[in-house]
């Protein structure tokens, strides 16, 4: 009992730090550019941007908690985006196109998972190959140029409003709730955590590890496909190089959100907070007219800081635990 309160306290530390950083960014922007930062228009533009990579990050989160990683997410995203785009151009109904895109994404993820699980190859390697294969497939299907000019109804998925609020926000919230539900209240979710903290123990305790790995990656592929539909609708174009910076970004988000890179630990709430935090920072850079590359630089530094912070927090928690146990 004592032990569980300790670990939850340490988790809270992380979320408090995330909140602190958000407040820091907001205060800083209020001082520097208060008038342009805190406007409805700016808030709206932020909401339009983050669901794409936010949904992607949840996929990365699931794989990382399972002790792996999914570097092929951007490839899956573009492949399913192109699938949807081509089907809509061919005049098929939108729901059918979206379903096909989701099926393609899930199949790609399941393929990754099957190779990882059945042959015992590190996830990093397989998904790196997967990135090349899926991106190459997009290039082969489109022949190079982007697929443009979809119907207005499709464009409205990511560019439309529900009242004064952009519609994508609801998609993002729905996905976040779904992921939180799966991770917290289903056996599958619990198996993911178990697999990530100790693969051998998970196998000996009767968990079908192959099935869990395939399902985790299929789940991640599904999320990649959702974000593919969103980005295709948002940009009104699908090609192989969309969102090429999202791999690094989603890794950063997930690690900053408190997911342990070795697996077993991580929460949806932490990842969600870190998505919002990064969007706040990205937007601050845009408003300050700072070059995009400075953002890359800052993101790299943040990643290192987040990792070091985790190490420090963990050591402190361990110290506290070792001090209380003997007494």
């Amino acid at each position: 009992m004592n032990n569980t309160t300790k670990t939850s306290k340490q988790r809270d530390d992380h979320i408090v730090v995330l909140f602190g950083m958000m407040i820091f960014v907001l205060v800083l922007m209020a001082i520097l550019k208060g008038k342009t930062y805190f406007t409805m228009a700016n808030l709206r533009s932020m909401i339009f941007q983050f669901p794409e990579y936010g949904v992607l990050s949840f996929g990365m989160m699931a794989c990382m908690i399972a002790g792996g990683i999914d570097l092929s997410l951007v490839g899956i995203m573009n492949l399913s985006g192109v699938t949807a785009a081509l089907m809509i151009k061919a005049g098929l109904p939108i729901p059918l196109a979206i379903l096909a895109a989701l099926a393609v994404g899930t199949a790609c993820g399941a393929f990754n998972g099957f190779i990882i699980g059945s042959l015992d190859i590190p996830a990093m390697l397989v998904t790196l190959c997967g990135l090349e294969v899926y991106s190459g497939l997009v290039l082969a299907i489109t022949g190079g140029p982007a697929v443009n000019n979809m119907t207005d109804a499709f464009k409205n998925i990511a560019n439309g409003f529900v009242g004064p609020v952009p519609g994508v926000l609801f998609i993002f919230i729905a996905v976040a709730l779904l992921v939180a539900f799966v991770m917290k209240y289903t056996i599958f979710g619990h198996n993911i955590y178990f697999l990530g903290s100790n693969k051998k123990a998970a196998r000996y305790s009767g968990i079908d590890t192959l099935k869990t790995i395939v399902m985790t990656h299929a789940f991640s592929g599904l999320l990649g496909a959702i974000s593919g539909v969103i980005i295709t609708s948002h940009l009104n174009s699908a090609k192989s190089s969309n969102g090429s910076t999202y791999t690094l970004l989603s890794l950063l988000i997930v690690v900053l959100g408190g997911v342990n890179p070795d697996g077993g630990k991580g929460k949806v709430i932490g990842v969600t907070l870190s998505i919002v935090l990064l969007q706040l920072i990205a937007n601050a850079f845009t408003i300050m007219r700072a070059p995009d590359t400075l953002k890359t630089f800052t993101n790299g530094c943040l990643l290192v800081v987040a990792l070091i912070l985790d190490v420090v927090l963990e050591k402190r928690a361990l110290k506290r635990a070792s001090r209380t146990i003997p007494s």
């Binding site: 190859i121 990093m124 294969v133 890794l251 590359t293 400075l294 790299g300």
Partner: protein, 335 residues
């Protein structure tokens, strides 16, 4: 017993690679008889130089149980900064100076990687990803994105020094082989010697195989990890300067995306991604196969837009083959 050893040798990863390379060459040569000419060898050497250099860096890091995805970014910085200084700050016409700056930059980033991985014990993939974005983001923010296509005359002199020049008899094209091909050759021999014959090399294998066992056996794990990343950084600096000389171009994004092909070349060559296994010869064969495939898909009549997909499939199959071999050898060890 001897019979069994022979069988094991003939089905080892390296021999399978050799078969695949021969088969691929035969298929290409059957479709395009022009493939069998000294010109092909020279072209492959020319394009293979960089991949081989980077693959050596990557191999040493993977052997030690890590991974380095930051070398494209480090390489870009290491060729961009000296050219920036030469072209825009102070005109120093010295090959020594250019290489020295490149090496120092590589060294600094190698030290950063080593610090993050061995002292702070961060996961190597994420630590080097962070270094990568710090390096490329930082240099572009500070120095901007330009392309330098003029070499100072001392570097131009290296460019003009050729080892052999082959002139195709029918078309009159000349295929020069630059003297810089010696750099990866010498480096490969040196790395191979260090890995096999010195305590340092055996230590790298040891910490890659099992960190704790290596520590108990008396190896200084942190020091060895540091050495691996620093070697990778320094040699990346040299390789980047070679790229600059041969391609006549220094940009901030020229090498980006190369990490994929390089890691794949190592893995296909039998370097285990989990560390502790791999040879220079295997890596060389992996580089050779990938360079062959990349250069000659046109000759097989595969359209350009399909090439990335085909290369991806080849890499995926190579990865599967290698890990299947690893599994088999482990089972054989148990039996």
């Amino acid at each position: 017993m001897k019979e069994k050893n022979k069988y094991a040798f003939l089905t080892s990863t390296q021999m399978i690679l050799v078969y695949v390379i021969i088969a691929f060459s035969l298929v290409v040569g059957f479709r395009q008889p022009a493939f069998f000419s000294p010109a092909t060898i020279i072209t492959i050497c020319r394009t293979g130089i960089f991949t081989m250099c980077f693959a050596l860096c990557e191999m040493v890091v993977i052997l030690s149980g890590g991974i380095d995805v930051s070398f494209p970014a480090i390489g870009c910085v290491a060729m961009y900064v000296p050219m920036y200084i030469v072209n825009r700050v102070y005109k120093i016409d010295s090959a020594f100076f250019a290489f020295a700056v490149a090496i120092i930059i590589g060294l600094l980033f190698g030290l950063l990687n080593g610090f993050l991985v061995s002292v702070l014990e961060l996961p190597p993939l994420i630590a080097t990803l962070a270094t990568s974005s710090v390096a490329s983001g930082g240099v572009v923010t500070l120095l901007g994105t330009r392309e330098f296509t003029n070499l100072p005359s001392s570097l131009q002199a290296i460019y003009n020094t050729n080892l052999i020049t082959y002139t195709a008899p029918d078309s009159g094209f000349t295929y020069p082989l630059n003297v810089l091909i010696l750099v990866p050759v010498v480096a490969a021999l040196l790395v191979s010697w260090v890995l096999r014959k010195t305590m340092l090399g055996r230590g790298l294998y040891a910490i890659g195989g099992d960190k704790n066992a290596a520590r108990v056996a008396g190896f200084n794990v942190r020091k060895l990890q540091f050495i691996a990343y620093v070697f990778s950084g320094v040699f990346t600096g040299i390789a980047a300067m070679i790229y600059n000389i041969l391609m006549h171009s220094a940009t901030t994004s020229a090498l980006m995306g190369d990490e994929m092909i390089t890691i794949a070349a190592c893995v296909i060559g039998g370097v285990r991604i989990t560390g502790g296994h791999g040879t220079v010869l295997g890596t060389f064969l992996g580089v050779l196969l990938i360079t062959l495939v990349q250069n000659n898909l046109n000759m097989l009549g595969i359209p350009t837009s399909w090439q990335r997909f085909v290369v991806g499939i080849v890499i995926l199959l190579g990865t599967i083959l290698t890990s299947w071999q690893a599994k088999r050898s482990m089972n054989a060890g148990r039996a």
